[in-house]
Symmetry: C2
Subunit: 443 residues, 2 copies
C-alpha cells in the first residue's frame, strides 16, 4: 500500500475548471511540491495552468502511474477503472453517489472491476489522501506540516477539520486518509500499514463503525503492538449510533464491545476531538510515560489546577527525595515552595527553570515533568522556552505555557524544537495520562 502515500506518479481525473474538485486536488498536489509525475486526465483534453505551471490535459491515461485520483460522476467510475486498471496500482475515488445513497450495485461493480485488475481502491465518497513526507497532497483539504501523526478518518469533513485544527495546534502529520465508504480498503488495512510506516509515530483513527469486526481486532492488536493508536469512536450513544447509521451507513454496533477491544489492546480512546489533538501531540514527542509526576510552575494557582487533574486521572504527585529538595534549596529563593508542585514564583528566570528541571529529572521518584509558565514578569517567555529546551532531561516534559498572545513567542521557540504546548494545566495533565496508559500496555 506504500505507493499510495509515497507515489512516484499520479493521474487526476475530473474537471479542471477552477473550483472543480479535480482542479483543487491538482492544485494542492502542485502547490504542495510533489516531485513525481503529475498527469491531469479529461476526455476533452486541452491545457491548464496551475500555480504558474502549464499542464497538457491527457485525453486518456497512456502511461503507467502509481495512483489515480478520480473525481468524475459516479456512474462512470467502474468503467474508468476497467479501462485504466492495467496502468495503475491504486485509485482514490473521491466521487460520491455509491452505497451512501443506496447505489449498492454500482459500488459492488466498482470493487469487482478493481479486484479483477488487482487495483486497490480508497473510497469511494472520500476526501482523498496525503502522503506528507512525499509532499503528496492528494486531497482538496488544507495542507499540513510534516510530522509523526497518521490520521485515518471515516468522515471526510471530520478529517478535513482535524487537519486544519491539528495543524494550528502544532501537530505534524505523516499521512492522512479519508476512506469514505470503505468499499475495498478499510480502516483495518490502514491501521496495519501505518503500524509499519517509518515516518508514522502515532496513529489516530476516527470511526463511526467497522465493517469487519474480526479484521479490525486483528489490525488493532498489530498496530498497538507497534505504536500508539488513538481512537475517537463516534456513534457511542443511542442517538449518536442512529445518526452514524444515516451518515456513513455504519452499523455502529455495541459501543461496549468496541470499548473492551480498545482497552484490551491498550489503544488510547479519547472522548473529544480536542483530546485527539492533545494525545497526538504527546505521542509525537514521547512513546510512554509513568505515573509519578513532578510539577514545576512560576505561579501557584495553575500548579494547583494541574495537581488536581493529575490526581483525578489516577496519576501521582511524585514525592521528591530529600536529596532533590536539598539540591533545590541550594539555589532557589527561600519563598519558593519546594514541595511538589514546585513553585519557582513569578520572577523565575532561565537559570531557575533549567536547574530545577535538571535536578528534578534526576529524582528516581519522578517519571515525568509538567512544566507550567504564566507570562513571566521581567523577561520574555522565550527565555523560559530556551531553559526547557536546554535542560538536560531524559524523561518526558509536558509544557503548559498559558495566556495566548502573551506567551506566543515562547511557544514558537518550543515548537521549533519539537516541543508542543498544551494551553491549559488540565490539558497538560491529560497528556501525561495518555502517555501513562500507553506504558501500562507495554509493561
Amino acid at each position: 500500500m506504500r505507493f499510495f502515500f509515497y507515489p512516484t506518479s499520479v493521474a487526476v481525473f475530473g474537471s479542471f475548471k477552477k473550483g472543480a474538485i479535480a482542479y483543487e486536488i491538482l492544485k494542492n498536489i502542485v502547490d504542495g511540491g510533489f516531485e513525481g509525475q503529475i498527469i491531469p486526465v479529461n476526455p476533452k483534453g486541452g491545457e491548464i495552468e496551475v500555480a504558474g505551471i502549464s499542464f497538457k490535459v491527457a485525453k486518456k491515461l497512456e502511461k503507467n502511474v502509481d495512483v489515480a485520483i478520480i473525481a468524475i460522476p459516479a456512474r462512470f467510475v467502474p468503467s474508468l477503472i476497467e479501462e485504466i486498471g492495467d496502468k495503475i496500482k491504486g485509485a482514490v475515488v473521491i466521487s460520491a453517489g455509491f452505497s451512501e445513497i443506496g447505489n449498492f450495485a454500482l459500488e459492488k461493480e466498482l470493487v469487482e472491476k478493481a479486484r479483477k485488475k488487482g487495483v486497490k481502491i480508497i473510497g469511494p465518497n472520500c476526501a482523498g489522501i496525503f502522503g506528507v513526507h512525499a509532499n503528496f497532497f492528494g486531497s482538496f483539504e488544507v495542507r499540513v506540516k510534516k510530522g509523526g501523526l497518521a490520521l485515518i478518518s471515516q468522515s471526510g469533513a471530520f478529517g478535513g477539520a482535524a487537519l486544519a485544527m491539528g495543524d494550528e495546534e502544532g501537530i505534524g502529520f505523516s499521512a492522512f486518509v479519508s476512506y469514505g465508504n470503505a468499499a475495498d480498503l478499510t480502516e483495518s488495512d490502514f491501521l496495519e500499514y501505518f503500524a509499519d510506516d517509518k515516518n508514522t509515530k502515532v496513529i489516530a483513527l476516527y470511526i463511526e463503525g467497522v465493517k469487519d469486526g474480526k479484521k479490525f481486532i486483528k489490525a488493532l492488536r498489530y498496530a498497538t503492538s507497534k505504536k500508539p493508536v488513538i481512537i475517537l469512536k463516534a456513534g457511542k450513544s443511542k442517538s449518536g449510533s442512529k445518526a452514524a447509521q444515516s451518515h456513513t451507513g455504519s452499523l455502529a454496533g455495541s459501543y461496549e464491545i468496541y470499548k473492551a477491544a480498545f482497552q484490551q489492546f491498550g489503544a488510547i480512546e479519547v472522548e473529544e476531538m480536542e483530546e485527539l489533538f492533545d494525545a497526538a501531540k504527546v505521542f509525537e514527542m514521547y512513546e510512554k510515560g509513568g505515573k509519578k509526576v513532578a510539577i514545576i510552575t512560576n505561579s501557584g494557582g495553575p500548579g494547583v489546577l494541574a495537581t488536581d487533574k493529575v490526581e483525578r486521572l489516577g496519576l501521582k504527585i511524585a514525592k521528591l527525595t530529600d536529596n532533590t529538595i536539598n539540591e533545590l534549596r541550594e539555589f532557589l529563593p527561600p519563598q519558593c515552595s519546594l514541595k511538589n508542585p514546585i513553585d519557582l514564583i513569578a520572577d523565575a528566570d532561565y537559570e531557575r527553570y533549567k536547574r530545577t528541571i535538571e535536578v528534578v529529572c534526576k529524582d528516581e521518584n519522578v517519571d515525568a515533568l509538567l512544566v507550567i509558565c504564566v507570562p513571566p514578569i521581567f523577561i520574555s517567555s522565550e527565555e523560559i522556552a530556551k531553559a526547557i529546551i536546554d535542560a538536560k532531561c531524559n524523561k518526558p516534559i509536558i509544557v503548559n505555557f498559558m495566556a495566548g498572545e502573551l506567551v506566543r513567542e515562547g511557544i514558537k521557540v518550543l515548537e521549533e524544537c519539537g516541543i508542543k504546548n498544551f494551553p491549559t494545566p488540565e490539558r497538560a495533565a491529560k497528556a501525561l495520562h495518555w502517555l501513562n496508559l500507553r506504558k501500562d500496555f507495554n509493561e
Copy 2:
C-alpha cells in the same frame, strides 16, 4: 463598593520607572482610556510621560480620590493607609509581603488602620482590578473587551492568564478582581456586589478556599438567585489541597462540602479552565436553556460527535414533530437527513441554514439549537454566519464553526453580532449542558 469598579478618580502609589509595577498600572489606566482624574504619587515627585501624556508626580496625595492603588514595599503600606485614609474610599494593595509569607501582624495592622478610617481594602498581594465599563484598568494585566463577565480570582496569575485567554476566546468582561490575601474584602463581598452590577451578566469565580464558610454560602445563595455563577474550585484533590495551602494559605477544606453548596444553589461548577471560558461565553449570550436539543450540521461526522456528547451529558436529542419534518422536506434536497441531527450536507448555503433554523426553532419539542458548520465548499463561512444571524429564532443557538483559519471570517462576523463560537462539537454540547443546569435551578 461601586467606586472600585466605576471610579471617578484614582491615585497610584509606587515607582514610576519604566517596568516598575506602579508604572505599568498607570500606563494601563491611561492606555485604557480612563476619563477620570489620575494622580501618580511618589515622595520623590518629578514628572513622567505615559502614552504621550505628561503627569506631575505628587509628593503626597492632596486631593480626595475614590481609589488608591498601592504598589510600595509592604512595610510602608499600613502607615500610608493611615496617612491617606481620610482622602480615599478604598485601596487596592498590590504589594506582596504580608500573611502569604508569614507576616500576619503586618496584615492585621493594615486592616485595623483601614477599618479605623472606613477604607475598604482589596488585597494585599493581588494583581489589581478592572472596571471595564468605566474604562478603568487598575492592574498590570492585559486589557480586555467590554462585555458581561465579572471574573473574581483568588490567584492573580490565574486571573491574568484567564483574562488574556478569555479575551482570545471572544469573551467580553464587565470586571476583574484579583483579591489576593483577602485581608478585608473577600470573594463573598465581590459575589454579592456583582450580583447587583447591571453590566455583569455572569460571574466566574476561581477559588482555592474561603475564609468564612457561612458568609460564602450566604453570598453564593444571593448571587445565584440573581445571575449565573461559574466556579472553578482548585485544591480539590489531596495533593491539590496541600498545594493550595502553601500557595494562598487557604485551608481548602473538604471539597465535598463545597460541592454540595455549589449544587444546592445551582452554581455552575466547572472542572477545567477551558470550561470556565465556555460556560462564561454561553451565559454572556443566554440566561438559560432546556434539555431538548436540535442539531443542524453540514457534515455528518461532527453531527454524530455532538449527538454523543449531548446524550452523555444527560440532554436529549429532540424528536422533531411531523410538521417540522414536512416543512423541511419542502425545501431541503432529498439527500439531506431530516432526522435530528439534521444534515444539510456539504453544499448547504445561506438559505438552507436560515430556513432550517427558523423551521426547527418553531418546533415545540425543541428547547435549543446546536448549529455546526465545517468549511463550506462553494461559499464562504461568512454566508453561513449571516444565515445564523438573520434567522428569526427566540431559542438559544449554540454555534460550532470548526477548522480554525478556514472559518475565521465567519467566526468574526458572528462575534461582531455577539454570537460566540465553540471550536468543537463537544465544547458546543457542553455549553448547552451548562445552560440547562441553570434552568434546573430556576424551575
